[in-house]
Symmetry: C3
Subunit: 342 residues, 3 copies
């Protein structure tokens, strides 16, 4: 694609360089070479601009500064991150799968498929389940009975969706994810754990993405719910009857026990943990590796295990670093007082 | 089901309400509506009783208190949790799978199947493996060679059971779980990691449940063992040669390195970790996110990383919260002493 | 195998016992019985030597001490661990799979297979993918399009390898592992998370082993790389664009966010976490459950979350244990000073 065409496609104006030069791919500013486009969106990478070998660079007016290589076309735009992201999509189009329902898949006779469906080899779709238009079920994926999957969904290989799950439109579920397994609940009686029946299900709204090997348990009664636009990373555990709001971010290896409410726009960083029956307020941020055992206020930023306000937690950690010395000093002080008391 | 029939089935007596009213499903006390049964087993939910829309509620004599809605039938019983659990099972019966061995499964010619077996499409059963009566192997599950699976087991879709695993009766293994992969062991020689051969296997006793995407490695020599009645949640890592006792509870995302002993009735809460060669005593409780690097006494309750007695750990955390202020006060004290010394 | 033959095979000399006795298997020193071989490589197990029922024991000259049972043949050697490991392999040979490409697998017409390939039932190999000589693709494994797999690799059941992955020789990938899923990246615009396209791939060098249900995301641009000889345990999360060096060890349930560099020979113990854009120096050791948010020097040993030098971290933890008492003493000291000031 020519630089000038890429600029037009991505809402940018060309300054300098050769607008008729050809761009074949995208790369980051440090490793880009000729015929590649890159982006400068963070001031701390500005130093790399003068030496980049890229042929073009998305940039905002505000970051243009210092020497610009002669052969570099600046693609000046309002939102370089989004312009670059669109350029990457244009330069690296997703491969067009030959869309077909594999003769090696098993679809129950009571299942219904929309238009333009792809089903890979050895996938299974259960009784009374429906797959919406333009959705893709990859090889070995398991769609249970009475499952509803919306339009434009992508279920990756070997993902497993248990019975009665309800999945919206534009949902991506990565390989090996398990949606709707039994929650972990028992009552201890007569020296054994009696299993609590889990007769609920999982509801996943539109535009949700769920990472590889993540597990989302179904409700004991009623639903475990993931709100529209929420994004869940790999190897996350979401227990039964959690209610996750809209546009929530849950990073890798986080675990949420059960019956929690995670409000809209909350962010749980990597490897966080949440005890059951807890509410995390809207736009709250739980920092990496924190453990939550009590409600978190909307907008709060918390850290530690058990977590508290991040500034308070950091002040405690800073104080802890001084504690070994304090113990020494304390002894010295005791001695001085003893002397004064003589 | 009529309320009076449900009461009889679940060992309860009807007080008030309409014993001939129809119940179609179960729900929690806050969201239940007409024709639903609920339960009150925890005093802290008592306040919801007067406003519940449920038609019936399992309850113990001791919790009956205050205003009871006219249209609510109290189902008075000794153990409301278990009565309700049985009601849920009666009202939401598990779907009856059409039991058959799929023509799309591959069963080795030397494998043996009991009576009333279900094998889903694209499942595989290896050489010299046996599946006991009334067991279910779902679609895409992989049963290796020389594997023994007992009666009334349920192996969910895409679970993988490596060679030589021995699995008892009434065992549930959820989707994506991996039983019997190689343990993680190497010897570093000549600048490379030499793999320790893992020629052991995994033994799982009766009535065990294993969560989705959980991994249980086989022994290097001898077995990794899970005792009868133990319950293991999703995404748990159980390393080689661990010996887990009876009725142990291991919650989600916990990790147990290797060669550990977890005695009967111990409880490991979510995201706990256990170093290798450690013993956790019977009925000990390891609280969430704790890390265990030394033996834990029977009945102990421990917290933290490294974990210690939970009361000691909490006292330390409470003290830590006062440390920043202590550092300030200490300086003031030093000044006062200096003044006294003048 | 006769003891004398085993000794010869494993570079050991027979001292005592019956060199013509038969050995049928291997076991650890505490559980070994007659006709089994064991090993003594750690001085702390020396006490078990006098009572072992084993018929033979690999041992170094330095550890021979005290009473040796009459019927025990000592197999004296330079490196008992490696000699024993070789004995285990000889006594417990891996089962010879009947090697064939299953008629129940689906191989794309543009895929290419080397010699001596095994492909299990219901495995799939995508367009333009190649499998090197003597490699094994087990049942239900998913090899995407444009994937390259080297020689002597073993891809276990239901593992999933996304498009464009490049895998070297002698690589083992355990069941349920997911290689090459999209990284977790979004830009928040107009109240929604816009997905960052991930057009990179994963490169895995020779002699790498990857554990069950581990996830390795592909690069956003460019590659996520795992260097030769590195070993990754179960349920590990490796985010996009991480560069892992040679002979690195990453233990179970560790999580590495993205764009990190883990240099040669580094060791990450169980359940560690690494923030993004961090460098961990060569041969550094990150202790179990530690969280890394800043670069770690080569050879450093760090602990805690956030992690610091392990000795410093332990000194702080030891001091913390004394803090509750210090708070008491401090009050007493204040009272004494107040008295002096009177």
């Amino acid at each position: 694609m020519l630089i000038k065409d890429l600029a037009q496609l991505c809402d940018a104006n060309v300054h300098g360089g050769d607008a008729s030069a050809f761009i074949n791919s995208a790369a980051d500013i440090m490793s880009a070479h000729a015929h590649q486009v890159t982006v400068l969106s963070d001031a701390k990478y500005k130093k790399y601009l003068k030496d980049t070998q890229a042929s073009a660079c998305f940039i905002s007016e505000a970051l243009i500064d210092g020497d610009i290589p002669d052969n570099l076309a600046l693609l000046v735009c309002k939102d370089p991150e989004i312009s670059f992201l669109n350029a990457v999509k244009a330069l690296h189009p997703e491969p067009v799968l030959k869309r077909q329902v594999s003769e090696h898949a098993v679809l129950a006779d009571t299942s219904t498929l929309g238009y333009d469906i792809h089903v890979g080899p050895f996938a299974t779709v259960g009784q009374h389940s429906s797959i919406g238009d333009s959705s893709t079920i990859e090889a070995g994926a398991r769609i249970g009975n009475h499952v509803s999957i919306g339009k434009h969904c992508h279920i990756h290989p070997n993902a497993v969706i248990y019975d009665h799950s309800v999945i919206g439109n534009n949902v991506i579920i990565h390989a090996g994810a398990v949606i709707g397994a039994d929650g972990f609940g028992y009552k201890f009686r007569d020296n054994q754990h009696v299993k609590v029946p889990h007769v609920g299900h999982v509801e996943i709204a539109d535009n949700v993405e769920i990472g590889a090997n993540t597990c989302i348990d179904r409700g004991a009664l009623g639903a475990t719910k993931i709100g529209a636009g929420s994004k869940i990373d790999n190897l996350v555990q979401l227990g039964h009857n959690n209610i996750v709001g809209r546009n929530v971010i849950i990073c890798g290896q986080s675990g949420i026990s059960g019956s929690c409410t995670i409000e809209d726009g909350a962010i749980l960083a990597g490897s966080t943990g949440v005890a059951d029956h807890v509410k995390i307020g809207s736009r709250a941020v739980v920092m990496a590796r924190s453990g939550i055992s009590a409600d978190v206020d909307p907008g709060a930023q918390v850290f530690g295990s058990p977590a508290k306000d991040r500034k308070v937690a950091w002040r405690e950690l800073a104080a802890l670093a001084k504690l070994p010395e304090l113990l020494q000093k304390f002894k010295a002080l005791e001695a001085r007082i003893a002397k004064l008391e003589e």
